[in-house]
Amino acid sequence: MALYSEKVMDHFRNPRNVGVLEDANGVGEVGNAKCGDIMKMYLKIEDDIVKDVKFETFGCGSAIASSSMATELIKGKPVEEARQLTNKAVAEALDGLPDYKMHCSVLAQEAIEAALKDYESRQGS
């Protein structure tokens, strides 16, 4: 049996929405290099819709796959829906993660939350 599901390997080998969004209006970074995982999410939100999203990740295979899947799940969706994305949904969409890798999906959820928070704080000012 392989370490990861086919879906995880697919998203790891061909990550979707990878890179930087120069005109992002919400950016969130979570994790730290000490622990071996950092995720950065760039959101471009217009009319309460996640028009575009990109990510950069320093981390293991499942961290890269989780970020990639998370971007797919929120791209084009209303902000409210993005806000409700759970790590469980990310892991399920990847056909599961090994137990000790579940924290990678948590990090993906937190990265999106951080980016949304940044977006909101920019709206307030």
């Binding site: 890179g19 290099a33 000490k34 622990c35 071996g36 995982d37 950069e56 320093f58 293991c60 890798k101």
Partner: protein
């Protein structure tokens, strides 16, 4: 596939495999049985003991067969601890980058009231005999220092450390799992009292190893039962496995010069090639190093994703990244030589086999360069380093 993880395990040699298969079908008697069919197995077992002893310069009576390196390490440490305790000596000296078979046994002994001093192994991954001498106390009952490190391949000054131990009358054990069959090891010349080795690291089978214990050391049992192995390790002997290990060891030791001559230039070529990757660093001393080992850190990337992509390219390697071990901390070996967490996560170990070719070396160099560059391309850590927001460590 290019198998570059020979420090994890090796492929059995043809002759080791032949020995094992033929013994499984022809010599399945129990060496403890008195009829000739059992005694035949006993003969095979004792010939293996002579072969193993000869390979490391020991007496056959000093060889105890075990299930592998971990069991041998456990038995050596527990023995030295019990012997020490009987004399009121409960201090043990070791190093910070030992194998977990040693470190975890030491932890257990600490809980039983032993005091453990772990020596610094410096940035080059080498402990000095002077450090050992300084650390020795009146109540020191054991010094245990590995012969060659499993992750960074550095060879320790075992002979000199052994001499220091002899001078102070302290038992000296070495975990030689990565050394036996790879470099010259001689327990007599190297002043070793106890030594652990494992068959599958030198093209023998898994599940078999041995412990050398110098004459006069009364081993403490880990497994109670029958009188096998002079009553020091119960359980019917794995005769085919033991004989197969002995065959592999005989082959490995007779070919040591050739092995070194073959691997060293390939190893050095790969080290040179990978050094061209910006912000990378070799781990461990370049000179005192087993011929098969290459270990690098690459800043801005994480080791597991590196391994997975190398696997896609047909290269089997390993890493000291936390993500490959299921723990939160990266390799204790890399931390022991002073690599910080951020950098230790981005490590790669290649441990070459005799079948490696010059073309393989080129392919490995190019593949690693390509994968490191690719992963850095979307690493936020690398972006910050390049932008000058954080400082390069390597």
């Amino acid at each position: 596939m290019i198998y570059a993880d020979n420090a994890a395990t090796t492929k059995m040699s043809d002759r080791a495999l032949e020995t094992m298969m033929s013994l499984i079908s022809t010599t399945y008697g129990n060496p403890s049985s008195l009829y000739e069919f059992g005694q035949k197995a006993k003969e095979v077992l004792e010939q293996a003991r002579r072969d193993v002893a000869y390979a490391i310069g020991a007496d056959p009576k000093e060889i105890l067969f075990t299930s592998g390196g971990s069991e041998a390490d456990n038995q050596a440490l527990i023995t030295a601890a019990k012997l020490g305790e009987a004399k009121g000596k409960k201090h043990i000296i070791s190093t910070a980058f030992e194998h977990h078979a040693v470190l975890h046994t030491l932890k257990k002994l600490e809980k039983e009231g032993f005091e453990v001093t772990l020596l610094d192994v410096h940035s080059n991954g080498i402990v000095l005999p002077e450090q050992v001498e300084e650390a020795i106390r009146e109540d020191t009952c054991l010094v245990t220092v590995m012969y060659a490190n499993n992750e960074i391949g550095t060879i320790q000054p075992i002979r000199e450390i052994g001499a220091v131990c002899r001078k102070h009358g302290v038992l000296f054990h070495t975990d030689a799992v990565q050394a036996v069959g790879h470099i010259k090891v001689n327990v007599e010349e190297d002043n070793i009292d106890m030594l652990s080795a494992s068959g599958h690291k030198f093209h023998g089978p898994k599940g078999v190893g041995f412990l050398y214990a110098k004459k006069g050391i009364r081993l403490v049992n880990l497994i109670e039962g029958g009188a096998q192995e002079k009553g020091k390790r119960a359980g019917t002997e794995n005769v085919p496995g033991i004989a197969s290990m002995a065959t592999a060891l005989r082959e490995a030791v007779s070919g040591l010069d050739e092995y070194k001559a073959k691997l060293t230039p390939v190893r050095d070529k790969i080290i040179k090639g990978l050094s061209e990757i910006p912000h990378s660093a070799i781990n461990g001393d370049l000179e005192h190093r087993v011929p098969s080992n290459i270990n690098f850190c690459f800043e801005g990337i994480e080791g597991e994703s590196l391994l997975l992509l190398l696997d896609d390219k047909g290269i089997a390697a390993s890493s000291g990244s936390a993500c490959t071990s299921g723990s939160l901390d990266p390799s204790h070996v890399l931390l022991a030589i002073g690599r910080v967490h951020d950098v230790a996560h981005g490590s790669l170990r290649l441990s070459l086999g005799e079948d490696i070719t010059d073309e393989d070396a080129d392919y490995i160099i190019n593949s690693v360069k390509e994968v490191v560059e690719y992963l850095r391309g979307f690493s936020p850590v690398w972006r910050d380093l390049v932008a000058g927001k954080t400082k390069f460590i390597l």
